[in-house]
């Protein structure tokens, strides 16, 4: 029974959402159930945060490699959470200050750092070793040129319209509208077929891994 009832819960919750599209009278029930979902997700996030705390606590306890840094992580977590919960999150609060001067610079610099690595990765990965690598490289270069003003700055006013296909701008638009749209659409369709079949398997009780081991 410890598995069957949760399975029924999953089935009922999912079917309500699907049936709502065909049975309008279910709408208010569905809306109620969706609002419950938001609360459950909030608890799921708390569970995630607790797990993070737990893993880092264990790292400190066992004195694993880099354990002193885990103390910093734990201190940061409590500082931010306590400041936010007790003194509010609006403009001008301690929380807002911590966000602006601690979290904001770190978050954006972490990803800005990747600018350097993207350059060295392009240097390393973009070698015309084979047909596929060459296609990748040429497309990347055209898009990079087509995206910035400098790419078309050399094109004079009198450039004939019949030669427009030689400009990075034009080539970039064709790559994006045809090749990129085709490739991304295939990914979209392929991935959505996966999601649809997994959803169906969950609702029908074929996929039960979410219930964990017996």
């Amino acid at each position: 029974m410890r598995r069957e009832i949760p399975m029924i819960v999953a089935f009922v919750a999912g079917v309500i959402i699907i049936l709502e599209f065909f049975v309008p009278s279910l709408r208010s029930v569905a809306s109620q159930v969706q609002n419950w979902y938001l609360v459950v997700v909030a608890f799921a996030i708390l569970v995630g945060a607790f797990n993070l705390l737990r893993m880092n606590y264990m790292k400190v306890r066992d004195r694993r490699a880099d354990w002193p840094y885990s103390i910093i992580l734990i201190v940061g977590l409590f500082t931010m959470a306590i400041a936010g919960i007790f003194w509010g999150i609006g403009q001008g609060t301690v929380f807002d200050w911590l966000f602006n001067y601690l979290m904001f610079p770190m978050s954006s610099t972490m990803f800005a750092l990747l600018a350097f690595f993207v350059a060295s990765a392009a240097y390393r990965a973009f070698r015309a070793r084979a047909v596929d690598a060459t296609l990748l490289l040429v497309a990347a270069i055209i898009v990079m040129l087509g995206q910035v003003p400098i790419g078309s700055i050399w094109i004079p006013e009198w450039w004939p319209h019949s030669l427009v296909f030689l400009t990075p701008d034009w080539l970039k638009d064709r790559i994006m509208e045809i090749f990129n749209t085709a490739g991304q659409r295939a990914i979209l369709i392929g991935a959505s077929l996966g999601v649809v079949s997994t959803s169906l398997r969950i609702l029908l009780g074929i996929e039960r891994s979410y219930l964990g081991e017996e």
Binding site: L52, R54, M55, M58, M110, F117, Y210
Partner: protein, 118 residues
């Protein structure tokens, strides 16, 4: 409070043995190369290397959630592998090595098939 941290049904912190690590790296690199995804994979791994630790912590955060939806045996191992930045380098090297081998093998096979044909 410490009791609460320990008395859980979640797996212990865990450790990744070098053998398991190499097995994982081999598996991933073969999957990438055989699907012709060498170039994009190298670019992606090389360009996001500094974020491997953050990636591992995001995995810790979502661990209870992800593992309650999907039965991913490798999840914990990948997480542990990501905590050590050198493992990204190890994977990159493995991909490049296997890619060279695989290409040579493909060439060989093509030649053999041609000879058979003629």
């Amino acid at each position: 409070m410490p009791r609460l941290f320990e008395a859980t049904s979640e797996p212990e912190y865990g450790e990744l043995s070098p053998e398991r690590r190499d097995e994982l790296i081999g598996k991933i690199s073969r999957a990438i190369v055989e699907r012709n995804l060498t170039a994009p994979a190298i670019f992606f791994l090389e360009s996001t290397k500094p974020l491997s630790f953050i990636g591992s912590q995001v995995m810790v955060f979502f661990d209870p959630l992800v593992r309650s939806i999907f039965n991913l045996r490798g999840y914990n191992d990948v997480r542990l592998a990501l905590e050590e930045r050198e493992n990204v380098d190890r994977l990159l090297v493995a991909i490049e090595r296997y890619d060279a081998e695989w290409r040579a093998e493909m060439k060989e096979e093509k030649k053999r098939r041609k000879r058979k044909g003629s």
